[in-house]
């Protein structure tokens, strides 16, 4: 290990509080774009998209006058088997897909992920989605958009646009998985 990699500059771009504020804004953007909560389904992409989708669903449910059950809005969509790099990366264990009781046919599905980068995960998610049903509209919400797209895909709701170099790494830590809430950018040597 050389000296540089031991002293990676890890810079916090979003603190836990920042993440909360950003999610609140994105939640209201989603409601605004949908003109309410009717037919709305949030599908998180494992692993960190799912807790984000849950947090968004809680905010969206709390904003409605009749106190919607957040669980009826949120689900998880596994994309492992739809990836285009299965031959090249290590074997990945698929995660369960759980859809809300109402299914996704005719619904407005908002895909939720932590970082939008090449766009390949979202392509895989769109393929996976079509095997589960036919949503009326599919939108995309991400916490971080770090650029460097390799496919013609863009997010409808972005928590934070983060210009990065390809050599940098963006790490999202969420309490549900990592025990803390922050977004860190690492300049790897």
């Amino acid at each position: 290990m050389n000296e540089n990699s031991q002293h990676d500059v890890a810079r916090t771009v979003l603190t836990g509080e920042d993440i909360e504020r950003v999610l609140t804004r994105v939640a209201f953007e989603i409601i605004e774009a949908n003109k309410g909560t009717e037919d709305l389904v949030l599908l998180g992409i494992p692993s960190r998209g799912y807790p984000l989708a849950q947090r968004l669903a809680e905010r969206i449910a709390a904003s409605t006058p009749n106190q919607l059950d957040p669980a009826s809005l949120v689900g998880q969509l596994d994309i492992t088997m739809y990836r285009d790099d299965l031959r090249h990366s290590t074997t990945r264990t698929p995660a369960p897909t759980r859809l809300p009781a109402g299914g996704i046919d005719g619904k407005v599905v908002v895909l939720v992920d932590d970082v939008l980068y090449s766009g390949r995960t979202i392509r895989a998610a769109l393929d996976a989605l079509s095997d589960w049903g036919r949503p009326r509209i599919v939108r995309l919400a991400v916490l971080i958009d770090r650029g460097h797209r390799e496919l013609p895909i863009r997010a409808d709701h972005v928590g934070k646009n983060l210009p990065t170099a390809k050599s940098e790494k963006v790490r999202v830590h969420l309490a549900e998985i990592d025990g803390s809430n922050e977004v860190v950018i690492e300049a790897s040597a």
């Binding site: 596994d78 088997m81 739809y82 031959r87 990366s89 290590t90 074997t91 264990t93 698929p94 995660a95």
Partner: protein, 320 residues
């Protein structure tokens, strides 16, 4: 994992990883679109030198659900009957463009031979070789046990082993590759195994296996087991008299109606497994085969999921 030849090669982590992936694969069998694109553009060859219905169909369904192309080869009606060697047959398949080979062979060790030589550099799945091993059958049996127990306890089966489970494997142990594969895998997963058979149907050296051996099915049922795995009496491999007649076998080592009642009387829902095809009335009675405790059809369903997981493990990831 490069090949799947024997359950003795699997570590506990690997075995649980396959069962966990199979758990997700089984879910896709319940949805509207049952196909996954994971192996699109790959070709899986089913190379069957021995008769089989459920294993071949199960592997075929598994490969197709992962969007792989399947070529079925059976020795009957092929150039093998003209004297073609295993090496030539295998290399022909490579030339056709196969990406993985699923092989069943009457000779123990044929899949290992394919894997060990440089004839073809493809992942090999052993689908039963002679009286040696049948790893995917053992995996689907373990999967079925794990899933049923988790359902009963109302927990998720993912990540769990079979620790503390008591399993009796009953019948023609001598000729059974299923028994051998199950023995290694069940031990790896923490279950304790009792082999029950007439002395003539136990192989020489069974005493050194990590299991208990009993000659009395009644005594084993009386002692209480969580699952009984009935084995088929393999008439086609028997070239000597191993028991006086079928009625006597059935009377002493078959799961007949009396023993079914004894199992039910023990009152803790012993699961009944059979790898199929069943000889109804010989090793298992119709009442036992069709009882609610019978997992026979569940095993077939789970077989597809386990084989999907195996093919996925072998054909994804770095192949170098």
């Amino acid at each position: 994992m490069k090949h799947l030849l024997s359950t003795a090669d699997l570590s506990r982590e690997e075995a649980i990883a396959i069962l966990d992936i199979a758990e997700e694969m089984r879910e896709t069998g319940t949805r509207q679109v049952k196909k996954l694109p994971a192996l699109r553009g790959r070709t899986v060859v089913n190379l069957f030198f021995e008769d089989s219905t459920r294993t071949r169909i199960s592997f075929e369904a598994a490969a197709k659900r992962l969007s792989a192309d399947v070529i079925n080869f059976s020795a009957k009606g092929s150039s093998v009957s003209k004297g073609e060697s295993l090496k030539d047959t295998a290399q022909t398949l490579l030339a056709i463009g196969a990406d993985a080979v699923v092989i069943r062979h009457p000779d123990s060790g044929a899949p290992a031979r394919l894997a060990a030589t440089d004839w073809i550099g493809l992942p090999i799945v052993n689908a039963g070789d002679g009286t040696h091993e049948h790893p995917t059958q053992a995996l689907l049996d373990a999967f079925t046990l794990r899933r049923q127990l988790a359902l009963r306890e109302g927990v998720s089966p993912v990540g769990r082993g079979l620790d503390g489970l008591k399993v009796a494997i009953v019948g023609d142990i001598l000729h059974s590759r299923v028994a051998r594969s199950n023995l290694w895998l069940l031990n790896t997963l923490g279950a304790s195994v009792t082999m029950v058979a007439p002395p003539t149907l136990l192989p020489v050296g069974a005493g050194a296996w990590p299991c208990r051996i009993s000659y009395s099915l009644d005594a084993v049922i009386e002692s209480g087991v969580d699952a009984v795995m009935m084995l088929r009496v393999q008439g086609e491999r028997m070239r000597a008299a191993f028991f006086p007649n079928p009625r006597e076998y059935s009377r002493y080592w078959g799961l007949d109606d009396t023993r079914l009642k004894a199992l039910e009387a023990k009152g803790h829902d012993t699961l009944i497994l059979h790898p199929g095809p069943m000889n109804r009335g010989l090793e298992i009675s119709s009442a036992a085969a069709d009882s609610p405790a019978s997992m026979v059809l569940e095993q077939v369903t789970n077989g597809v999921a386990v084989r999907m997981a195996s093919l996925y493990m072998l054909l994804s990831g770095d192949l170098i």
